[in-house]
Symmetry: D2
Subunit: 336 residues, 4 copies
Amino acid sequence: MMVIMNVDATKEQIEAVITRVEANKFRVIVNTGEDRTLIAVIGSNPSVLREQIMYMPGVDHTVPISRPYKVASREFIPENTVFPLDGFVIGGDEVVVIAGPCAVESRSQLLETAQAVKEAGAQALRGGAFKPRSSPYSFQGLGEEGLEILAEARELTGLPVFTEVMAPEMVPLVAKYADVLQIGARNMQNFALLHAAGECEKPILLKRGISALIEELLMAAEYILSHGNRRVILCERGVRTFETATRNTTDINAIPVLKNLTHLPVILDPSHSTGHADLVTPVARAGVAAGADGLIIEVHPNPKEALSDGGQSLSPEKFAVLVKQVRGIAREVGRK
Amino acid sequence: MMVIMNVDATKEQIEAVITRVEANKFRVIVNTGEDRTLIAVIGSNPSVLREQIMYMPGVDHTVPISRPYKVASREFIPENTVFPLDGFVIGGDEVVVIAGPCAVESRSQLLETAQAVKEAGAQALRGGAFKPRSSPYSFQGLGEEGLEILAEARELTGLPVFTEVMAPEMVPLVAKYADVLQIGARNMQNFALLHAAGECEKPILLKRGISALIEELLMAAEYILSHGNRRVILCERGVRTFETATRNTTDINAIPVLKNLTHLPVILDPSHSTGHADLVTPVARAGVAAGADGLIIEVHPNPKEALSDGGQSLSPEKFAVLVKQVRGIAREVGRK
Amino acid sequence: MMVIMNVDATKEQIEAVITRVEANKFRVIVNTGEDRTLIAVIGSNPSVLREQIMYMPGVDHTVPISRPYKVASREFIPENTVFPLDGFVIGGDEVVVIAGPCAVESRSQLLETAQAVKEAGAQALRGGAFKPRSSPYSFQGLGEEGLEILAEARELTGLPVFTEVMAPEMVPLVAKYADVLQIGARNMQNFALLHAAGECEKPILLKRGISALIEELLMAAEYILSHGNRRVILCERGVRTFETATRNTTDINAIPVLKNLTHLPVILDPSHSTGHADLVTPVARAGVAAGADGLIIEVHPNPKEALSDGGQSLSPEKFAVLVKQVRGIAREVGRK
Amino acid sequence: MMVIMNVDATKEQIEAVITRVEANKFRVIVNTGEDRTLIAVIGSNPSVLREQIMYMPGVDHTVPISRPYKVASREFIPENTVFPLDGFVIGGDEVVVIAGPCAVESRSQLLETAQAVKEAGAQALRGGAFKPRSSPYSFQGLGEEGLEILAEARELTGLPVFTEVMAPEMVPLVAKYADVLQIGARNMQNFALLHAAGECEKPILLKRGISALIEELLMAAEYILSHGNRRVILCERGVRTFETATRNTTDINAIPVLKNLTHLPVILDPSHSTGHADLVTPVARAGVAAGADGLIIEVHPNPKEALSDGGQSLSPEKFAVLVKQVRGIAREVGRK
């Protein structure tokens, strides 16, 4: 159930509603909007409670919410979630482009790439210091050394840094270096990690699991939101289907579906969603045309020598073309 | 194997190559390009044959082709297949918009819709007279009466007509009325129908099966092409995945993959690929941004009263907005 | 809606109900069961009609049916559909094993295989004379010559023959030679073919489409049933998923789901559902353990030389082991 | 590369090979088999190294291994991994049945169920104290209190306890109470958790991710094995497909595929792989018929009142029938 208070409801009236709900052993989440306050009552509430609340002073009306996520829903927070990062704003008019290598491989590789993507128009830097790899025998990332290199690249370029965190106990370490913490597709339902991310002070980039329903992505976001962290960015990165011509299938439908269902920013990762450098640019354009708030792109100074995911990385030259083209599309759909 | 003749190879030299191949019991398909002639030799040819051919007069070089489709491949026909329909050209610079109702329900419904989509900027009319329906008890279309209404709408508006054919023996009847014959997703591997379409004089719109691999779509096209009909348009219309928030999953990757692999025109059907009117416009924009040569869109004068697929049909007003937006995107990607 | 007549309802009372329904422009399908008559009223019937019928003489009660298929449903025909073929009964206590090569390649190959599978315990012979092939350049079957060879094998062995039909106009020809006509996975929603099969006097083996929902399979069966042919056998043959270790994914759940929903016999094709000879026997055992009424198995005298699907064909020796093992499992689940 | 030593190779010869490999900066894993020693060399080794090793004293021969998993492969350990738990042996002749509620809800619920499943023939008890739930607002399990109740049930019944662990830092706590630690489908690629499980002294039950390839399951097992824990049980629990009639699709093919590729025990969870109590028993029979080493089944004393997954839980009475039927199937396939 959601309780929509009157525009001029008093603080006491709001408190009284919360007290009544909690006396019935239900939990509330409160959205103090600009106009009025909304109160979400968690769980499958009995209609008798709804009838009690409906006639309390200051209550405009109540509506049942059937969706299993609350704080993530547009019903609860109608306005877009917009927040600033160093030098740009995500979730607003601007289409944000985040770029960098799959993995931090060395100081020189990262600094070179950071400089190149900045010149090509990227607004933020990505790069993995801790890498989730299917095989225990593959390169697992440089670890804290990689985080230090990322921080150095930020000093050099001014670009804020996005990087992955893989375990709850690593959240404080990664948060010390990164501007945005990324939770990868394989960990989308690692609930202990989501919980830790919810208690972190840095924004979270949450990638959709390889076979996650859109609803499950929103419920994973709800884990983070309900533990207090309201700065969550959602990322479509392709789903696993029967098709073998591409590494994954970009679920382009998910972009407008998510923009309808949630107020959170939504970005697309066409590098992983296609798996082929040739396809990244047309699919990046498609993502922005469909309404994405941003893109995250793998760029490597020398794709053929990349230690991971080289086949889907763009060279800095091709990335510059991509940025130019998506800026054109962005203007056409009323974005900056 | 593909045999690439010299630019100045004589007719006799070309004939000699064909004779030699056929003497070895292999079949050839010949592409007389602007510059030079290419000869595809069908089947898994022995290397000894390739060595024989390689040194014949007029032969520039030979290459093995691993792809199971030949005539459909860009290796065999490098230039885009471009052909005119009444009033426009498909496969060229122009992004073509085909629109109309899912099913022809009545004369007034169709004529009204045809007029409306023309005014909104559509270049062709779609409408089903024979409808493939999962249930034997659902409305199966008006049949030949529907074809007559479509022909009347063409008279009235000048728009060429796209309509579905469901069985080989119906091909001549439908071809009598339609400008382009559509083969639906459920019939993509109805080989008897593909064969009949290959012998038809009208262009064919071939829709991807709901779980067809991109390669299977190209091999279905090859059935039509190898029986003599070279005017085939491919259509991505969404694939079936685990996601339940949308009717199908638009495989946007398929657009640039197909444009790389084949010279045939590729269009997108965002009405079926999403299944929700709200999603049609953003996904149509995405299709054009990704490189589609056209769109096919369901429009109904009164979507709520449609006898089939009403939930995914646009009103004429919303369709006019779509056309305007996709024209903007088209310019941005260097199309008309 | 379904109308359940009294056990002692008279013929006149039954006629009166049918007349009333038809006067309201609804179609009926009648099941004259052993005990009593059931009348299915097709379409979304208004409740006012249901109220009229409910109180007519001879009517026991009425129930709404929500399922989109009627004649195929256990609600309409509670007892198993059981029918004899030459030498055995399908749908009853016996687990039926049908075996033979993917394609009829030659007279000697087929006669040898027919003899071998008979000796190993098969009760029927399979073999394709018309082959649906993804590529137009692959072996398409021997056609009518193949049908003649199949008929000869029947003479020799006494085994009834199962073979595929691919187009509506071929139904009479194939029915002249075959005991059971098979509709393949790619044609499961070829509605013109289903219609023709519904008017045929021979039983139909209907294979599930590669991504068909269980409900769609039942609706495809309904097309055949509603055109008058009540002898339909359903076949699970694997569905297409993301898994690449096997050709298809055997949907073993579908066996008990179908046995719950429909009275029609259900068999499993583990050759296609796995795609590897090594997996056929364990999955065949699983099918019978899950409740399948039979199996259809590819056997080739020399799997390595098969013109199609050799990798999934069993040798006659391995097939004999399979038959022995599945007979043991069959006894264990209360079958013969 | 795998190095197969002679049957009579000396300890010194084995050491010399290991020293040579490590001098070349490759890692080894050693399998001291009954007959002879096998040495796996991790990574893509240069052929020059293989040639050096090939002629060293005591080396029988070397083979390249292409599979990305080593210790999990039957190539490296040909004999089945068999190990005892309290009162039974897993991976051997016996088909093991593990049963209990989805979640530990209360002391009385668990003790009652434990007693009931023991009487019905279960050899081990399952029950979740920590529950991974899609929604942050759902019941998350009793936590350590649940573990204590499980330990009490073991005292009472003698059944060893299987229970889930969700985060690396919880491994020691859960290992204190449980006999086997379960890693759930959502955590199959939680590499930090796999690492911690690899250092734990208790056996691990590893469930396949909802869209994990069979190869990815084996590589997840390899993470555990390569960190030192050799007692891993694999569990097929259904994959996510387009089919909506069942909660998941049981990949029955995976059972014989896994038994071919790996020496590890393989069990089936038909409760999750079907999602409907009606389907659990037939699919459990199918699993054993296909070669599974065991089953894990949800049983609840009162399925309708279960706090989670009630619809797929069996009553103790139905579970007793299941045990009886699968024992019959087990005998038929040569198991106990």
